[in-house]
């Protein structure tokens, strides 16, 4: 009784608010600050976005490139907010990757999209009264609300088929590093340190936030790919540096290429740990089991949510989400809706209505 009451009250007190002076940042609980992941649904799942000072790690699927979706949206959202960016990848020409970043959708498109969404959504009439659009991930109502109007909103709907305008990334505050040919990570570490030193956390108000994105961190073509301890110590120091600066470091890595203990160590280092998985193509079983299987491109797992400045873990009601491309343009995350086949799994429990609400309650529990 007491617990629920306190939760209720703290919930209303701690609702994240967009700070007016710094675009793209909002206050979270426990003195943390969020910046947007570029995916409205993911922001909601994580309780507001990525926490400043945290290390976000994405475990790649060996067969599917879904981690690129998360990376692109993260980078693109940062560029829209004029957050300085440092991007490192194992390709020869990392700068070319910037040309594939998605651009924010125009408001008009948003509106039509929202309408169709409402039409698509079908639920039994007697449950309508339980249906609260504010809490519903799949409806995208809330993201619509915060994404209309100017581009300077906290989180934009990014259109994956519309390339980002050049002027966003031609400026001085975008750095690209290729890690393919460097014999070790020392130079990358120096560049990260230099980059992060711009955002060192000393004054109370945050003037600007930085984003570092490292793609396919231990991919096999890198020269240091077999120096596991070297890579671990790099990530460790990156984490320590991130802690003392107003920046988010996003690293994707393929765990299957590492030794199990090394991969576990990396998972422990991560503040926020996500993984993406491919789903089998034209799998009849799965199509029967999951509603909306046709639109899914993959699965996203949330293993850990950053808990800076608090000891309370974030427990999500569901940790697996389907990645869908709405109209082949927008990245949408939905809770898995299991068709009630085997009765044993509480499928009704996992409906999309309840899940994002609980996400918030969990992360803001005081």
């Amino acid at each position: 009784m007491a617990a629920t009451r306190t939760r209720g009250s703290s919930f209303s007190r701690n609702v994240s608010t967009v700070t007016s002076q710094n675009s793209g940042l909002k206050h979270g609980p426990n003195g943390t600050t969020f910046l947007s992941s570029g995916i409205p649904d993911l922001d909601k799942i994580l309780g507001g976005g990525y926490t400043l000072g945290s290390l976000v790690m994405i475990m790649e699927d060996a067969e599917a490139p879904h981690h690129m979706l998360l990376l692109r949206n993260f980078m693109s959202q940062g560029l829209i907010h004029k957050h300085p960016l440092l991007y490192a990848s194992a390709s020869r020409d990392p700068k070319g990757f910037l040309g594939t970043l998605p651009a924010p959708a125009s408001a008009k498109e948003d509106k039509t999209r929202d309408l169709t969404n409402e039409k698509d959504l079908r639920i039994a009439w007697q449950y309508k009264k339980y249906f609260d659009p504010q809490l519903n991930i799949s409806s995208n109502n809330e993201s619509y609300l915060c994404c209309t109007g100017a581009q300077q909103d906290y989180c934009n709907d990014l259109d994956l088929r519309k390339p980002l305008d050049r002027h966003f990334y031609s400026g001085m505050n975008v750095g690209c590093v290729s890690i393919q040919d460097s014999p070790d990570l020392a130079s990358l570490q120096d560049q990260c340190a230099k980059f992060l030193s711009q955002f060192s956390r000393n004054e109370a108000n945050i003037s600007s936030a930085g984003r570092i994105a490292i793609q396919s961190f231990c991919s096999p073509q890198c020269k240091f790919a077999n120096m596991e301890w070297h890579m671990l110590s790099f990530i460790r120091s990156l984490k320590a540096m991130a802690r003392s600066s107003n920046a988010v470091v996003l690293v994707s890595f393929p765990p299957s290429l590492l030794s199990p203990s090394c991969s576990k160590r990396l998972q422990h280092m991560a503040d926020t740990l996500l993984s993406v998985r491919a789903i089998p193509d034209e799998d009849k079983e799965m199509a029967k089991l999951l509603t909306g299987y046709q639109d899914m491109v993959g699965l996203l797992n949330v293993h850990k949510v950053a808990r800076l400045n608090t000891q309370v873990p974030v427990i999500l009601e569901t940790t697996t989400f389907s990645i869908k491309l709405h109209k082949r343009r927008y990245l949408v995350l939905e809770c898995l809706n299991q068709a009630p086949v085997d009765g044993s799994s509480g499928s009704s429990y996992n409906t999309s209505g309840s899940c994002s609400g609980s996400t918030k309650a969990g992360s803001l529990d005081f």
Binding site: A2, A3, N30, G31, E228, W229, H230, L232, S233, R236, S237, A240, M241, R243, S244, S259, P260, S261, K264, R265, Q267, H268, L273, H303, K304, L308, N309, T310, Q311, V312, P313, I315, E317, T319, S358, G362, D365, F366
Partner: protein, 250 residues
């Protein structure tokens, strides 16, 4: 009920008779279930247990501000304790020893010297009430470029302080890192040494909102006194830990 002083965790750790001093407490956790809260509880207890107690904290995974905020919520002001010279925060977040080939033991010896000099600088009577805490052993190994021997030497030296001065030694490590290793030297040797072993594991049925995991507290005490095992579930809150036996949660 929430603010009951003697909850199951405190009882299992033996807080009621102050007996962490002279002991080595090893805390183990996994990716799914963190046991950092056990450190926070011990930290809070160490300050309240004795008026002249002090804590030396070797931080490898989180900065001071993180612990300060957490401890403030459970009723302990670390910044004030630091100013009172009762809390010694050794920031080792960026600790990294030079690459392979060169011996690391010089670096670890220096860290140990720092710890020992802190203890020696204390008034003679207060050295009995020192708690040494390491918030992540696995990071020590990363800092030492994977050399488990150097880490074990360092941990042994920390351990000798428990008999030399009667300090309490508390360390956290991640069990699941070593599951795939054939002979996981660090974790096994630490388990042999530990007087009290605390293991945090997720529930077999997965994570739940009301039960964050299960704890097992094992008292070994050099095998001189009989072994005691406590098993219970826990739920972490901002200002306290709720512990209960399986199935007794309302």
């Amino acid at each position: 009920m929430e603010h009951k002083e003697l909850n199951l965790l405190n009882e299992a750790l033996g807080f009621h008779n102050n007996n962490l001093y002279g002991r080595f407490v090893l805390v183990e956790d996994t990716v799914d279930t963190t046991a950092a809260f056990v450190l926070h509880q011990i930290l809070k207890h160490s300050f309240s247990s004795h008026p002249s107690s002090s804590v030396i904290f070797l931080a490898l995974s989180h900065p001071f501000s993180h612990y300060d905020r957490i401890l403030r919520k459970i009723g302990c002001n670390l910044a004030a304790q630091r100013d009172n010279k009762r809390f010694f925060f050794i920031d080792m977040l960026m600790l990294q020893f030079p690459d392979e080939g060169k011996p690391n033991d010089v670096g670890f010896a220096a860290v140990f010297e720092k710890i020992e000099s802190v203890i020696k600088a204390l008034p003679q009577d207060n050295t009995k009430f020192v708690t040494i805490m390491i918030d992540d052993i696995s990071f020590l190994q990363v800092a030492a470029n994977g050399s488990s021997n150097d880490v074990l030497d360092f941990l042994h030296y920390c351990y000798t302080l428990t008999s030399e001065y009667g300090c309490a030694f508390v360390a956290l490590d991640h069990k699941d890192i070593y599951l795939n290793e054939e002979k996981p030297a660090i974790i096994s040797e630490m388990e042999y040494l530990a007087d009290i072993l605390v293991k945090a594991e997720p529930l077999a049925t997965g994570l739940a909102k009301d039960v964050h995991g299960q704890l097992m507290v094992l008292h070994k005490q050099h095998g001189i006194s009989p072994v005691k095992i406590h098993n219970f579930h826990f739920k972490i809150k901002e200002n306290s830990i709720e512990c209960f036996y399986p199935g007794t949660k309302i």
